[in-house]
Symmetry: C2
Subunit: 143 residues, 2 copies
């Protein structure tokens, strides 16, 4: 029970840190080991330890994730001097109902064909560990 409470508290605390930064840099590993990152918009779903993003299922990062599920999401807010590292495992999810629930017409800037595009997919990241820096020293939190 104590462990459950700790988990809930850690999840809530992480969400408070990242929800307003919103755009994360998602780092994935290429086949040759090179690490690349790309900006991704965090979906404002009820956060239970899983983060959701829209993507195309033929984009470069998808191939990288199929080979190696390990990803990092970094959230940086220069103004607030807030830095968050989220380590987790990613997978592609095709769930039209969930996508409809999360869709916002503003996303047409990135996905011009919207929800009807068969390439549109969801990227799901199960969070394993998070670290915050809003002071000189970081804080490591297991999720």
């Amino acid at each position: 029970m104590a462990q459950h409470d700790d988990h809930s508290k850690a999840v809530k605390e992480l969400w408070e840190k990242i929800k307003d930064v919103r755009i994360a840099m998602l780092t994935t590993a290429e086949l040759n080991g090179m690490l690349r990152s790309r900006p991704m918009a965090t979906q404002k779903e009820e956060f239970d330890g899983t983060l959701w993003f829209f993507t195309y299922d033929d984009s470069g990062k998808v191939g990288e994730i199929q080979r190696d599920q390990n990803v990092n999401l970094s959230y940086a807010d220069l103004g607030k001097t807030l830095y968050v590292s989220v380590s987790g495992k990613a997978q592609m999810v095709h769930d039209k109902e969930k996508a409809e629930k999360m869709w916002n017409p503003l996303y047409k800037a990135w996905f011009p064909n919207g929800l009807e595009d068969p390439r549109l997919a969801l990227l799901k990241v199960e969070v394993e560990q998070a670290e915050y820096w809003d002071a000189p020293n970081g804080k490591l939190v297991a999720i």
Copy 2:
């Protein structure tokens, strides 16, 4: 010659993007494959395709870099909607003269014992590839 000019132009363009963001999230791979990131202050050295950071040579990331030199540096400026991914190879460098040249008394917030600390070292990242997003689509640049 054309290739040399392209390289110089790419290096200059990258520096223009990142020099004011300054704090990068450095992503490294742990032995189990987990990806972690940490905020690091980019040194304002003359940029020739190599980025420099201060670190402690007994910090967690150093062990990770010794096992796997591949790192990613992400620079995010929410206000300017600017996102930069820098892929490269990292190594530890002990060069007191270089460290003295780059040192700023403000760094005592992170390294209270300053230049006299034997654990103080430089992390050098040779940039291999960079990508920018300051519009919906990214731009890939080989350095």
